[in-house]
Symmetry: C2
Subunit: 334 residues, 2 copies
Amino acid sequence: MKHSLLAAAAALTLTAPSAAQQAPAPAAEIPSPGEIAAAAPAADWIEIPASDLLVMDLALDAKGKPRRVVIQLMPVPFSQGWIGNIRKLAAAHWWDGTSVNRVQDNYVAQWGDATEKKALPEGLAVVPESAYETAIANPAIATNPIRIDPQSPYGIDAYSRSNFFYEGWAVAYDQIWDTLIQDEKGKSIPSNLTQSAWPIHCYGMVGVGRNLSPDTGSGAELYTVIGHAPRHLDRNIALVGRVISGIEYLSSLPRGTGALGFYESEAERVPIASIRIATDLPPADQPKFEYLSTESDSFAKYADARANRRDPFFIKPAGGADICNIPVPVRAAK
Amino acid sequence: MKHSLLAAAAALTLTAPSAAQQAPAPAAEIPSPGEIAAAAPAADWIEIPASDLLVMDLALDAKGKPRRVVIQLMPVPFSQGWIGNIRKLAAAHWWDGTSVNRVQDNYVAQWGDATEKKALPEGLAVVPESAYETAIANPAIATNPIRIDPQSPYGIDAYSRSNFFYEGWAVAYDQIWDTLIQDEKGKSIPSNLTQSAWPIHCYGMVGVGRNLSPDTGSGAELYTVIGHAPRHLDRNIALVGRVISGIEYLSSLPRGTGALGFYESEAERVPIASIRIATDLPPADQPKFEYLSTESDSFAKYADARANRRDPFFIKPAGGADICNIPVPVRAAK
């Protein structure tokens, strides 16, 4: 171990482009996924509308430092009525003074009203369970056809027939032939195809806490994934967005010692100063982010590199990747 | 949201058996995976030898509380020469006074000698890269044949041909036919089958930091996974065990702000008081743990339930599971 600390640091992971920037790269060096994304042309980056950014400011930390968590809300068609509720709750300043109440290791951090007595704003939608999935016949998808590539490096999935990226989001897909009919030769053939898709519970995804079915949650109680993707929650809970900045302020909180990681005392809860849609913040305080278009060639190269690590640290490229190991690149915009 | 806090807690996840214990279950209620494990007969639980437990005591926390992390070292055949090195390092008290130096969000916490100047004990093995995989012809496996069930709920894997559990550990498998020969009809058929298996980088797994290939690391620099399974590291870094208790003392540490999550100042590093094999601790201080035999019927039921959640919270069982979403149940033993 005669190498410098930074050399050792670069050696262990190389997921961050900064590592390779510390020393001149050999001429033949193959770029890491992060380097591929960083080198993508400006046209491949898409600015996230400020109206889709949910900005959560936690109380200052023990040293007086701000803790801002920025969530990108999902656009249609995979997000459903919950998004409207979240906009109403933010507009009503409903979360101000509530708290992070639960942090369960390798699972979720969850926030909302610990007393469960705070009245909700009027007019929140009650969203049906059917909205956990989106029928492929949905016009919003039909006009922007889903491209399913069975040769894609990330199509193999224990939780769905296939998965893919759609306008910046990881989505799973399934199809059901729900009747058998007889063809002219008397052979049974499947009929009545139903195709549907749904967002995936990857690290950092934000979902809507709920009680037992048929409750689907209002959106007032939210959680984010801080561990291995809990894919069994897919199609069982609503997903509404993802944390794109500041997740460390949630993922590094002390784990709750109560059942399911709930904090057992008021003192442990982390107060939420405010939650706002970015457009309701003063212009100078509005965060700006952009994501790498998942429909771009740059993203295809990035995804391939995530599935086949050929940068210098790696010996055996995997030849495939869990879709949750291909996080969509997001960065601050100017 | 008129339900009590605990009702809401139970509703969101139900991964913990404690949730269902809070209220009498309806007669027809289907047990959760945790309940299935808890109900397994004593004979299905296997005590982990104290000689396989690596006990890391971090410095007391800010409130003076102990922080003990217990790691189960992997047995042969999937662990290799690194385990012997780790035993030597612990026997030499080598880690005492070193520190946790790196915490990268959704990736790893890493510990060792931040100065990289501390002399290593003599006689550490230099382990070859070939040891990242284990040939299936290995006698230790041949005497305890690997059972690969293509119908298993967790066989589908983007990173390998299949995966399975072997004596308490999640393992991936691949095969290569590396030549084509002509059969008697002149048809080309594959020959020279090589089968190999390797441990999987799931949450909590412990691995050996290394520099660039051909370095394979001594075992002095260790990390544990604190995020989504970084499976691209499989077969690229040595895995030597898993955290079975106290991972929250690592996963909830502040994230490092340097490249790759390294702490930038001495003050941020978390001192390690001692690391010992449990048999070198006073008897009263030796932790005792047991795991649910992955060869038991109880485990088969547990794994099926993880892949097909039918307990009351769930609407749509997934019908499959990522093997890293089937953590082997481990509990304190009496």
